[in-house]
Subunit: 144 residues, 2 copies
DNA sequence: CTATTTTGTTTGTACATACAATCAAATTAA
DNA sequence: TTAATTTGATTGTATGTACAAACAAAATAG
């Protein structure tokens, strides 16, 4: 009575990782709704507040996105008046504006909300553990 | 000497899951290059071959994408002559064409190549384990 | 010191994906 | 049996993200 074999999906790390990505992105965007930002933008602001004048290159590395994607993120946040660029030679330094800094508590609250939502469903232990394993996996796989 | 606290990234399941998703998507697309398809399209064809006449609704569920996304996937594969639609009342049944079926071995080879690439970096044990945990996490989180 | 290479950023373009609205078929209720 | 609801699919639109090409500044080599 077993249907066709579909284990090629559930066994595939590409599929399972992206499936979880899509699922938790929905939860994350919902938790971040009060900020008016998606989580990646919120995290960019947190980085800029934590390290004023951080370069776009560093931001891209820390957020694990390509430089072109990062340019677009900063474009949008600049347009919203939440960060500003200072060009220094060939590098661009990013600073949170006062308006951006003013959002930091809202952003942190959204992060906490996000975390508490998924911890409620996964358990704190397991959630912590799997995040660590995901980091480890990314690092291994990025060793070309 | 510790820099600013950036654990909000590495502790956040939204961030870690999507980071891994981006990383492994690159590997997966590379492994699937010989098929001329991205992995999701390859998997759709595998599902259609395994269950001839599978409905779009079922495909969307199995692939964990929305119906609108699935419509677009089928559009493209139909355009490439790899699947065809048969409308049956309000549902659409999807069949692989001969051309689509002819690709199944190439697609399976790409899946094996993908798997062997990430297993080489993560170890077979760990790769298996983490895929299971990712599935479990998605299922838990999808319980609204 | 000029010429070359490298490095950081940006822009054009493309794709996967989602949501909301629409539409059409099917089911249920009156 | 008609009217209302539900369900599956599609379309318009928007966003995140990538890659490749272009560009400009900096570093290195001749």
């Amino acid at each position: 009575m077993s249907g066709p074999d579909e284990s090629f999906l559930t066994n595939c790390l590409f599929f399972t990782a992206n499936r979880l990505g899509r699922t938790i992105t929905k939860i994350a965007e919902d938790a971040f709704a009060p900020t008016g930002l998606t989580p990646m933008y919120g995290y960019l602001i947190r980085l800029a507040v934590g390290t004023p004048g951080i370069s776009q290159k560093e931001l891209a590395e820390k957020l694990s996105v390509t430089p072109s994607t990062l340019t677009r993120f900063v474009d949008k946040l600049e347009l919203k008046g939440l960060v500003e660029r200072k060009v220094q030679g060939k590098t661009v330094l990013v600073y949170a504006t006062a308006k951006g800094e003013g959002m930091i508590e809202t952003i942190k609250a959204a992060s906490r909300e996000l975390r508490s939502r998924y911890e409620a469903l996964l358990g704190k232990e397991f959630a912590d553990e799997i995040s660590k394993q995901l980091i480890f996996s990314s690092e291994q796989l990025e060793k070309q």
